[in-house]
Protein backbone atom coordinates (compact mmCIF):
# COMPACT_ATOMS: atom_id res chain seq x y z
CA UNK A 1 0.00 0.00 0.00
CA UNK A 2 1.37 3.45 -0.84
CA UNK A 3 1.92 5.78 2.10
CA UNK A 4 -0.74 8.38 2.98
CA UNK A 5 1.78 10.76 4.48
CA UNK A 6 5.43 11.24 3.65
CA UNK A 7 7.78 13.44 5.66
CA UNK A 8 11.11 14.45 4.15
CA UNK A 9 13.95 16.73 5.28
CA UNK A 10 11.61 18.25 7.85
CA UNK A 11 13.18 20.78 10.20
CA UNK A 12 11.92 22.99 12.97
CA UNK A 13 13.74 25.84 14.65
CA UNK A 14 12.19 28.16 17.18
CA UNK A 15 13.37 31.77 17.17
CA UNK A 16 12.95 33.27 20.61
CA UNK A 17 12.55 36.99 19.97
CA UNK A 18 11.90 37.72 23.59
CA UNK A 19 15.25 36.24 24.45
CA UNK A 20 17.40 38.24 22.10
CA UNK A 21 16.38 36.29 19.04
CA UNK A 22 18.22 33.09 19.91
CA UNK A 23 17.60 30.16 17.61
CA UNK A 24 16.45 26.89 19.11
CA UNK A 25 16.60 24.04 16.60
CA UNK A 26 14.52 21.06 17.70
CA UNK A 27 14.20 18.88 14.59
CA UNK A 28 16.39 18.53 11.55
CA UNK A 29 16.20 16.31 8.53
CA UNK A 30 13.27 14.21 9.75
CA UNK A 31 12.01 11.66 7.27
CA UNK A 32 9.41 8.90 7.58
CA UNK A 33 6.17 7.72 6.07
CA UNK A 34 2.78 6.60 7.38
CA UNK A 35 0.94 3.71 5.80
CA UNK A 36 -2.70 2.75 5.96
CA UNK A 37 -3.57 0.15 8.58
CA UNK A 38 -0.41 0.61 10.58
CA UNK A 39 0.39 2.40 13.79
CA UNK A 40 3.73 4.19 13.95
CA UNK A 41 5.06 5.37 17.27
CA UNK A 42 7.44 8.26 17.84
CA UNK A 43 10.18 7.05 20.16
CA UNK A 44 13.02 8.65 22.02
CA UNK A 45 13.66 10.40 25.30
CA UNK A 46 11.52 13.21 26.52
CA UNK A 47 12.36 16.64 25.05
CA UNK A 48 13.65 15.18 21.82
CA UNK A 49 10.90 16.81 19.76
CA UNK A 50 8.26 14.09 19.42
CA UNK A 51 5.44 16.47 20.20
CA UNK A 52 6.81 19.09 17.77
CA UNK A 53 6.71 16.57 14.93
CA UNK A 54 3.14 15.64 15.75
CA UNK A 55 2.15 19.29 15.85
CA UNK A 56 3.82 20.04 12.53
CA UNK A 57 1.92 17.14 11.01
CA UNK A 58 -1.32 18.69 12.24
CA UNK A 59 -0.31 22.15 11.00
CA UNK A 60 -0.32 23.45 14.54
CA UNK A 61 3.40 24.26 14.38
CA UNK A 62 4.93 25.76 11.28
CA UNK A 63 7.78 23.72 9.81
CA UNK A 64 10.94 25.67 9.12
CA UNK A 65 11.78 23.64 6.03
CA UNK A 66 11.16 20.29 4.39
CA UNK A 67 8.00 18.65 3.13
CA UNK A 68 4.99 16.90 4.61
CA UNK A 69 3.10 15.41 1.70
CA UNK A 70 -0.40 14.24 2.55
CA UNK A 71 -2.87 12.36 0.40
CA UNK A 72 -5.96 14.54 0.55
CA UNK A 73 -9.16 14.42 -1.50
CA UNK A 74 -7.49 12.27 -4.12
CA UNK A 75 -4.56 14.65 -4.52
CA UNK A 76 -1.41 15.53 -2.67
CA UNK A 77 -0.93 18.48 -0.35
CA UNK A 78 2.30 19.77 1.17
CA UNK A 79 1.39 20.76 4.69
CA UNK A 80 4.52 22.89 5.02
CA UNK A 81 3.41 25.33 2.36
CA UNK A 82 -0.37 24.86 2.47
CA UNK A 83 -2.71 27.81 2.90
CA UNK A 84 -4.51 28.01 6.22
CA UNK A 85 -7.82 27.06 4.72
CA UNK A 86 -6.29 24.03 3.04
CA UNK A 87 -4.97 22.93 6.42
CA UNK A 88 -8.43 23.47 7.91
CA UNK A 89 -9.93 21.32 5.19
CA UNK A 90 -7.24 18.71 5.77
CA UNK A 91 -8.17 18.60 9.44
CA UNK A 92 -11.82 18.32 8.61
CA UNK A 93 -11.37 15.51 6.09
CA UNK A 94 -8.04 13.77 6.40
CA UNK A 95 -6.11 14.22 9.63
CA UNK A 96 -7.58 13.64 13.07
CA UNK A 97 -5.82 14.55 16.28
CA UNK A 98 -6.15 13.51 19.89
CA UNK A 99 -4.32 16.01 22.03
CA UNK A 100 -2.95 15.42 25.47
CA UNK A 101 -5.36 17.81 27.08
CA UNK A 102 -8.91 18.73 26.30
CA UNK A 103 -9.33 22.35 25.37
CA UNK A 104 -12.51 23.06 27.19
CA UNK A 105 -15.27 24.94 25.48
CA UNK A 106 -17.43 26.75 27.99
CA UNK A 107 -21.00 25.56 28.49
CA UNK A 108 -20.89 22.72 25.95
CA UNK A 109 -21.77 19.29 27.29
CA UNK A 110 -19.41 16.31 26.93
CA UNK A 111 -21.67 14.49 24.50
CA UNK A 112 -21.86 17.51 22.19
CA UNK A 113 -18.12 18.02 22.36
CA UNK A 114 -17.60 14.45 21.23
CA UNK A 115 -20.25 14.66 18.51
CA UNK A 116 -19.03 18.00 17.16
CA UNK A 117 -16.45 16.72 14.61
CA UNK A 118 -19.12 14.55 13.03
CA UNK A 119 -21.66 17.35 12.96
CA UNK A 120 -19.05 19.61 11.36
CA UNK A 121 -18.65 17.06 8.61
CA UNK A 122 -22.34 17.06 7.97
CA UNK A 123 -23.61 14.10 10.00
CA UNK A 124 -27.11 14.45 11.34
CA UNK A 125 -27.03 15.76 14.90
CA UNK A 126 -28.99 12.84 16.33
CA UNK A 127 -26.85 10.18 14.65
CA UNK A 128 -23.71 11.98 15.78
CA UNK A 129 -24.99 12.10 19.36
CA UNK A 130 -25.80 8.39 19.28
CA UNK A 131 -22.31 7.49 18.12
CA UNK A 132 -20.80 9.85 20.68
CA UNK A 133 -22.81 8.11 23.39
CA UNK A 134 -21.60 4.69 22.23
CA UNK A 135 -17.98 5.81 22.46
CA UNK A 136 -18.36 7.44 25.87
CA UNK A 137 -20.08 4.32 27.18
CA UNK A 138 -17.30 2.19 25.83
CA UNK A 139 -14.77 4.39 27.61
CA UNK A 140 -16.76 3.96 30.82
CA UNK A 141 -17.69 7.58 31.26
CA UNK A 142 -20.76 7.60 33.53
CA UNK A 143 -23.84 8.64 31.60
CA UNK A 144 -24.78 11.25 34.19
CA UNK A 145 -21.74 13.24 33.06
CA UNK A 146 -22.58 13.29 29.37
CA UNK A 147 -24.66 16.41 29.42
CA UNK A 148 -22.23 18.34 31.63
CA UNK A 149 -19.44 20.59 30.37
CA UNK A 150 -16.16 18.72 31.07
CA UNK A 151 -14.48 21.75 32.69
CA UNK A 152 -15.04 20.26 36.13
CA UNK A 153 -14.23 16.64 35.19
CA UNK A 154 -11.19 14.81 36.53
CA UNK A 155 -8.10 14.49 34.32
CA UNK A 156 -8.99 10.93 33.35
CA UNK A 157 -12.57 11.83 32.53
CA UNK A 158 -11.50 14.76 30.38
CA UNK A 159 -8.99 12.53 28.62
CA UNK A 160 -11.70 10.03 27.75
CA UNK A 161 -13.91 12.77 26.34
CA UNK A 162 -10.93 13.87 24.30
CA UNK A 163 -10.26 10.37 22.99
CA UNK A 164 -13.87 9.82 22.07
CA UNK A 165 -13.86 13.13 20.19
CA UNK A 166 -10.74 12.11 18.28
CA UNK A 167 -11.90 8.60 17.47
CA UNK A 168 -15.48 9.36 16.44
CA UNK A 169 -14.60 10.35 12.87
CA UNK A 170 -13.12 8.13 10.20
CA UNK A 171 -10.18 10.33 9.24
CA UNK A 172 -7.66 8.28 7.22
CA UNK A 173 -4.83 9.66 9.36
CA UNK A 174 -5.00 9.89 13.15
CA UNK A 175 -2.40 11.58 15.36
CA UNK A 176 -2.32 10.59 19.03
CA UNK A 177 -0.48 12.67 21.62
CA UNK A 178 -0.25 10.52 24.76
CA UNK A 179 -3.90 9.60 24.76
CA UNK A 180 -3.54 7.12 27.63
CA UNK A 181 -1.44 9.23 29.99
CA UNK A 182 -4.04 9.68 32.71
CA UNK A 183 -6.09 6.53 32.22
CA UNK A 184 -6.46 3.47 34.43
CA UNK A 185 -5.62 -0.03 33.19
CA UNK A 186 -9.15 -0.90 32.13
CA UNK A 187 -9.57 2.22 30.01
CA UNK A 188 -6.06 1.88 28.60
CA UNK A 189 -7.13 -1.52 27.35
CA UNK A 190 -10.21 0.02 25.73
CA UNK A 191 -8.02 2.56 23.92
CA UNK A 192 -5.63 -0.18 22.74
CA UNK A 193 -8.62 -2.04 21.37
CA UNK A 194 -9.93 1.08 19.65
CA UNK A 195 -6.55 1.68 18.02
CA UNK A 196 -6.56 -1.90 16.74
CA UNK A 197 -9.99 -1.30 15.22
CA UNK A 198 -8.75 1.84 13.47
CA UNK A 199 -5.89 -0.15 12.03
CA UNK A 200 -8.26 -2.79 10.74
CA UNK A 201 -10.28 0.01 9.15
CA UNK A 202 -7.18 1.08 7.23
CA UNK A 203 -6.35 4.19 9.22
CA UNK A 204 -2.73 5.31 9.41
CA UNK A 205 -1.88 6.20 13.00
CA UNK A 206 1.03 8.07 14.49
CA UNK A 207 1.33 8.36 18.23
CA UNK A 208 3.38 9.23 21.24
CA UNK A 209 2.95 6.72 24.06
CA UNK A 210 5.00 6.91 27.20
CA UNK A 211 3.32 3.83 28.61
CA UNK A 212 5.51 0.95 27.45
CA UNK A 213 2.74 -1.60 27.72
CA UNK A 214 0.42 0.37 25.48
CA UNK A 215 3.25 1.16 23.09
CA UNK A 216 4.13 -2.47 22.71
CA UNK A 217 0.52 -3.37 22.21
CA UNK A 218 -0.15 -0.94 19.38
CA UNK A 219 3.15 -0.13 17.63
CA UNK A 220 3.89 -1.62 14.24
CA UNK A 221 6.79 0.74 13.61
CA UNK A 222 8.87 2.83 15.99
CA UNK A 223 10.32 6.02 14.59
CA UNK A 224 13.36 7.06 16.61
CA UNK A 225 13.14 10.82 16.88
CA UNK A 226 16.61 10.99 18.43
CA UNK A 227 17.85 10.35 14.91
CA UNK A 228 16.34 13.70 13.84
CA UNK A 229 18.16 15.68 16.50
CA UNK A 230 19.74 18.76 15.00
CA UNK A 231 23.46 19.28 15.19
CA UNK A 232 23.27 22.06 17.70
CA UNK A 233 26.77 23.29 16.98
CA UNK A 234 25.93 23.83 13.37
CA UNK A 235 22.85 25.84 14.21
Amino acid sequence: MPPVLVVSRLAKTFTMHLRGGIELPVIANAAFALHPGTCAVLGGPSGVGKSSILKMLYGNYAASSGRILVRHRGGEVDLVTAEPRTILDLRRETIGYVSQFLRVVPRVGALDIVAEPLVERGTDRRDAARRAGDLLARLNLPERLWSLPPATFSGGEQQRVNIARGFITDHPILLLDEPTASLDAANRAVVVEMIAEKKRAGVALLGIFHDVEVRNAVADVVIDVAGFAPDRKAA
Binding site: L18, G59, N60, Y61, A62, P84, R85, V105, R107
Partner: protein
Protein backbone atom coordinates in the same frame (compact mmCIF):
# COMPACT_ATOMS: atom_id res chain seq x y z
CA UNK B 1 -14.07 23.61 -0.52
CA UNK B 2 -15.56 26.80 -1.80
CA UNK B 3 -13.48 28.06 -4.66
CA UNK B 4 -14.10 31.78 -4.40
CA UNK B 5 -13.55 34.18 -1.56
CA UNK B 6 -16.48 36.19 -0.26
CA UNK B 7 -14.41 39.26 0.51
CA UNK B 8 -11.09 40.32 -0.96
CA UNK B 9 -9.05 43.06 0.65
CA UNK B 10 -6.13 44.38 -1.39
CA UNK B 11 -3.54 46.94 -0.26
CA UNK B 12 -6.01 48.74 1.96
CA UNK B 13 -4.46 51.81 3.50
CA UNK B 14 -5.99 54.54 5.57
CA UNK B 15 -3.92 57.54 6.53
CA UNK B 16 -4.84 60.62 8.47
CA UNK B 17 -2.31 63.08 7.11
CA UNK B 18 1.04 61.64 8.07
CA UNK B 19 -0.49 59.33 10.67
CA UNK B 20 -1.23 55.77 9.63
CA UNK B 21 -4.58 54.21 10.46
CA UNK B 22 -3.77 50.97 8.69
CA UNK B 23 -1.35 50.26 5.89
CA UNK B 24 -1.19 47.82 3.01
CA UNK B 25 -3.54 45.19 4.38
CA UNK B 26 -4.27 42.17 2.18
CA UNK B 27 -6.48 39.18 2.90
CA UNK B 28 -9.41 37.11 1.69
CA UNK B 29 -12.32 35.73 3.62
CA UNK B 30 -14.12 32.62 2.41
CA UNK B 31 -17.71 31.68 3.14
CA UNK B 32 -18.14 30.17 6.57
CA UNK B 33 -14.75 31.33 7.77
CA UNK B 34 -14.06 33.28 10.94
CA UNK B 35 -11.15 35.70 10.83
CA UNK B 36 -9.96 37.36 14.01
CA UNK B 37 -8.10 40.66 13.85
CA UNK B 38 -6.13 41.08 17.05
CA UNK B 39 -3.89 43.77 18.41
CA UNK B 40 -3.86 46.27 21.19
CA UNK B 41 -5.83 49.49 21.08
CA UNK B 42 -4.37 51.87 18.53
CA UNK B 43 -3.06 49.04 16.38
CA UNK B 44 -5.44 49.95 13.57
CA UNK B 45 -7.76 46.99 13.83
CA UNK B 46 -10.92 49.04 14.22
CA UNK B 47 -9.83 51.38 11.41
CA UNK B 48 -9.38 48.32 9.23
CA UNK B 49 -12.78 46.96 10.21
CA UNK B 50 -14.40 50.26 9.31
CA UNK B 51 -12.54 50.39 6.00
CA UNK B 52 -13.69 46.98 4.90
CA UNK B 53 -17.25 47.40 6.11
CA UNK B 54 -17.65 50.61 4.05
CA UNK B 55 -17.99 52.74 7.12
CA UNK B 56 -14.75 54.57 6.38
CA UNK B 57 -13.35 55.06 2.90
CA UNK B 58 -9.74 53.89 2.66
CA UNK B 59 -7.07 56.22 1.31
CA UNK B 60 -5.90 53.50 -1.07
CA UNK B 61 -6.61 49.89 -1.96
CA UNK B 62 -9.71 47.96 -2.87
CA UNK B 63 -12.29 45.92 -1.01
CA UNK B 64 -14.39 43.64 -3.16
CA UNK B 65 -17.31 41.46 -2.19
CA UNK B 66 -19.01 38.57 -3.92
CA UNK B 67 -22.64 39.56 -4.29
CA UNK B 68 -25.40 36.96 -4.07
CA UNK B 69 -25.45 36.72 -7.84
CA UNK B 70 -21.81 35.58 -7.73
CA UNK B 71 -20.36 38.77 -9.13
CA UNK B 72 -17.34 40.29 -7.39
CA UNK B 73 -17.93 43.99 -6.83
CA UNK B 74 -15.71 46.80 -5.61
CA UNK B 75 -17.50 48.03 -2.51
CA UNK B 76 -16.45 51.61 -2.97
CA UNK B 77 -17.94 51.69 -6.44
CA UNK B 78 -21.34 50.51 -5.33
CA UNK B 79 -24.10 53.07 -5.36
CA UNK B 80 -25.23 54.37 -2.00
CA UNK B 81 -28.55 52.52 -2.25
CA UNK B 82 -26.87 49.24 -3.15
CA UNK B 83 -24.32 49.62 -0.39
CA UNK B 84 -26.92 50.33 2.25
CA UNK B 85 -29.04 47.45 1.06
CA UNK B 86 -26.05 45.16 1.39
CA UNK B 87 -25.41 46.46 4.89
CA UNK B 88 -28.86 45.60 6.13
CA UNK B 89 -29.41 42.32 4.35
CA UNK B 90 -26.28 40.42 3.43
CA UNK B 91 -24.10 41.86 6.17
CA UNK B 92 -24.28 42.30 9.88
CA UNK B 93 -22.37 44.60 12.18
CA UNK B 94 -22.16 43.83 15.88
CA UNK B 95 -20.93 46.79 17.88
CA UNK B 96 -19.04 46.57 21.13
CA UNK B 97 -21.65 48.77 22.76
CA UNK B 98 -25.06 47.25 22.02
CA UNK B 99 -26.69 50.68 22.28
CA UNK B 100 -24.85 51.61 19.06
CA UNK B 101 -26.46 48.77 17.19
CA UNK B 102 -29.92 48.67 18.74
CA UNK B 103 -32.88 50.97 18.80
CA UNK B 104 -33.12 51.40 22.52
CA UNK B 105 -36.62 52.86 22.51
CA UNK B 106 -38.41 50.18 20.54
CA UNK B 107 -39.22 46.68 21.71
CA UNK B 108 -36.95 43.68 21.32
CA UNK B 109 -39.38 42.24 18.78
CA UNK B 110 -39.26 45.36 16.63
CA UNK B 111 -35.47 45.47 16.91
CA UNK B 112 -35.29 42.00 15.45
CA UNK B 113 -38.07 42.63 12.96
CA UNK B 114 -36.70 45.89 11.59
CA UNK B 115 -34.52 44.29 8.95
CA UNK B 116 -37.42 42.15 7.79
CA UNK B 117 -39.61 45.20 7.44
CA UNK B 118 -36.78 47.00 5.68
CA UNK B 119 -36.73 44.36 2.99
CA UNK B 120 -40.47 44.54 2.57
CA UNK B 121 -42.05 42.03 4.93
CA UNK B 122 -45.51 43.41 5.62
CA UNK B 123 -47.08 40.61 7.64
CA UNK B 124 -47.13 41.43 11.34
CA UNK B 125 -47.78 37.88 12.50
CA UNK B 126 -44.97 36.45 10.45
CA UNK B 127 -42.51 39.13 11.52
CA UNK B 128 -43.40 38.47 15.13
CA UNK B 129 -43.02 34.73 14.77
CA UNK B 130 -39.59 35.15 13.22
CA UNK B 131 -38.60 37.57 15.98
CA UNK B 132 -39.77 35.13 18.65
CA UNK B 133 -37.78 32.36 17.03
CA UNK B 134 -34.65 34.49 16.91
CA UNK B 135 -34.99 35.65 20.47
CA UNK B 136 -35.12 31.99 21.41
CA UNK B 137 -31.99 31.25 19.44
CA UNK B 138 -30.10 33.91 21.36
CA UNK B 139 -31.62 32.66 24.62
CA UNK B 140 -33.98 35.53 25.29
CA UNK B 141 -37.37 34.42 26.58
CA UNK B 142 -40.40 34.96 24.35
CA UNK B 143 -42.00 36.85 27.22
CA UNK B 144 -39.46 39.65 26.75
CA UNK B 145 -40.41 40.32 23.14
CA UNK B 146 -42.29 43.51 23.94
CA UNK B 147 -39.72 44.86 26.37
CA UNK B 148 -37.32 47.57 25.31
CA UNK B 149 -33.59 46.79 25.38
CA UNK B 150 -33.26 49.52 28.01
CA UNK B 151 -34.65 46.97 30.44
CA UNK B 152 -32.10 44.32 29.41
CA UNK B 153 -28.76 43.43 30.97
CA UNK B 154 -25.56 44.00 28.99
CA UNK B 155 -25.35 40.37 27.93
CA UNK B 156 -28.96 40.27 26.82
CA UNK B 157 -28.55 43.46 24.85
CA UNK B 158 -25.57 42.00 23.07
CA UNK B 159 -27.50 38.84 22.26
CA UNK B 160 -30.39 40.94 21.01
CA UNK B 161 -28.01 42.87 18.79
CA UNK B 162 -26.78 39.61 17.35
CA UNK B 163 -30.31 38.37 16.68
CA UNK B 164 -31.18 41.68 15.03
CA UNK B 165 -28.23 41.24 12.69
CA UNK B 166 -28.74 37.61 11.85
CA UNK B 167 -32.45 37.65 11.09
CA UNK B 168 -31.91 38.27 7.37
CA UNK B 169 -29.43 35.36 7.14
CA UNK B 170 -26.43 37.55 6.28
CA UNK B 171 -23.36 35.92 4.78
CA UNK B 172 -20.80 38.20 6.38
CA UNK B 173 -20.86 39.65 9.88
CA UNK B 174 -18.43 42.20 11.28
CA UNK B 175 -17.93 42.20 15.02
CA UNK B 176 -16.10 44.86 16.96
CA UNK B 177 -15.09 43.52 20.38
CA UNK B 178 -18.46 41.85 20.84
CA UNK B 179 -17.62 40.60 24.31
CA UNK B 180 -15.85 43.80 25.31
CA UNK B 181 -17.91 45.25 28.08
CA UNK B 182 -19.24 42.02 29.54
CA UNK B 183 -18.55 40.07 32.72
CA UNK B 184 -16.48 36.93 32.25
CA UNK B 185 -19.33 34.50 32.81
CA UNK B 186 -21.55 36.47 30.45
CA UNK B 187 -18.71 36.51 27.92
CA UNK B 188 -18.43 32.74 28.00
CA UNK B 189 -22.12 32.32 27.32
CA UNK B 190 -22.01 34.79 24.46
CA UNK B 191 -18.94 33.19 22.92
CA UNK B 192 -20.51 29.79 23.07
CA UNK B 193 -23.67 31.13 21.49
CA UNK B 194 -21.73 32.88 18.74
CA UNK B 195 -19.73 29.75 18.09
CA UNK B 196 -22.89 27.74 17.61
CA UNK B 197 -24.57 30.33 15.39
CA UNK B 198 -21.50 30.82 13.23
CA UNK B 199 -21.31 27.10 12.70
CA UNK B 200 -25.02 26.46 12.17
CA UNK B 201 -25.48 29.35 9.76
CA UNK B 202 -22.17 28.99 7.96
CA UNK B 203 -21.43 32.65 8.61
CA UNK B 204 -18.27 34.35 7.53
CA UNK B 205 -17.16 36.59 10.38
CA UNK B 206 -14.50 39.22 10.75
CA UNK B 207 -14.08 39.82 14.43
CA UNK B 208 -11.91 42.49 15.98
CA UNK B 209 -10.72 41.69 19.46
CA UNK B 210 -7.82 42.27 21.78
CA UNK B 211 -8.71 39.08 23.66
CA UNK B 212 -6.69 36.12 22.38
CA UNK B 213 -8.99 33.66 24.16
CA UNK B 214 -11.90 35.00 22.10
CA UNK B 215 -9.83 34.61 18.96
CA UNK B 216 -8.86 31.05 19.93
CA UNK B 217 -12.42 30.02 20.62
CA UNK B 218 -14.13 31.61 17.63
CA UNK B 219 -11.75 32.04 14.77
CA UNK B 220 -10.16 29.82 12.17
CA UNK B 221 -7.62 32.35 11.10
CA UNK B 222 -6.00 35.24 12.85
CA UNK B 223 -4.32 38.44 11.82
CA UNK B 224 -2.07 40.26 14.27
CA UNK B 225 -1.80 44.02 13.83
CA UNK B 226 0.66 46.51 15.20
CA UNK B 227 1.01 50.18 14.28
CA UNK B 228 -1.48 49.81 11.47
CA UNK B 229 0.30 46.90 9.80
CA UNK B 230 -0.31 43.18 9.76
CA UNK B 231 2.67 41.57 11.48
CA UNK B 232 1.52 37.98 11.27
CA UNK B 233 -1.35 36.16 9.64
CA UNK B 234 -2.28 32.49 9.67
CA UNK B 235 -4.11 29.64 11.38
CA UNK B 236 -5.32 30.76 14.76
CA UNK B 237 -3.95 27.83 16.71
CA UNK B 238 -0.63 28.04 14.90
CA UNK B 239 -0.23 31.73 15.66
CA UNK B 240 -1.05 31.16 19.29
CA UNK B 241 0.98 27.95 19.79
CA UNK B 242 3.91 28.72 17.50
CA UNK B 243 4.04 32.51 17.17
CA UNK B 244 6.90 33.66 15.00
CA UNK B 245 6.76 37.44 14.71
CA UNK B 246 8.39 39.16 17.68
CA UNK B 247 5.22 41.08 18.46
CA UNK B 248 3.03 37.97 18.34
CA UNK B 249 5.41 36.23 20.71
CA UNK B 250 5.16 39.16 23.08
CA UNK B 251 1.37 39.18 22.80
CA UNK B 252 1.03 35.45 23.41
CA UNK B 253 3.50 35.47 26.29
CA UNK B 254 1.52 38.27 27.91
CA UNK B 255 -1.63 36.20 28.38
CA UNK B 256 -2.45 35.57 31.98
CA UNK B 257 -2.76 31.88 32.69
CA UNK B 258 -5.59 30.78 34.92
Amino acid sequence: MNEFPLLSVRSVTKTYGARIGCADVNFDVWPGEVLAVVGESGSGKTTLLNCISTRLEPTAGTVSYRMRDGEMRDLYRLGEAERRFLLRTDWGFVHQNPADGLRMTVSAGANVGERLMAIGDRHYGRIRDTATDWLGRVEIGADRIDDQPRAFSGGMRQRLQIARNLVTAPRLVFMDEPTGGLDVSVQARLLDLLRGLVHDLGLAVIIVTHDLAVARLLSHRMMVMKDGRVVEHGLTDRLLDDPRAPYTQLLVSSILQV
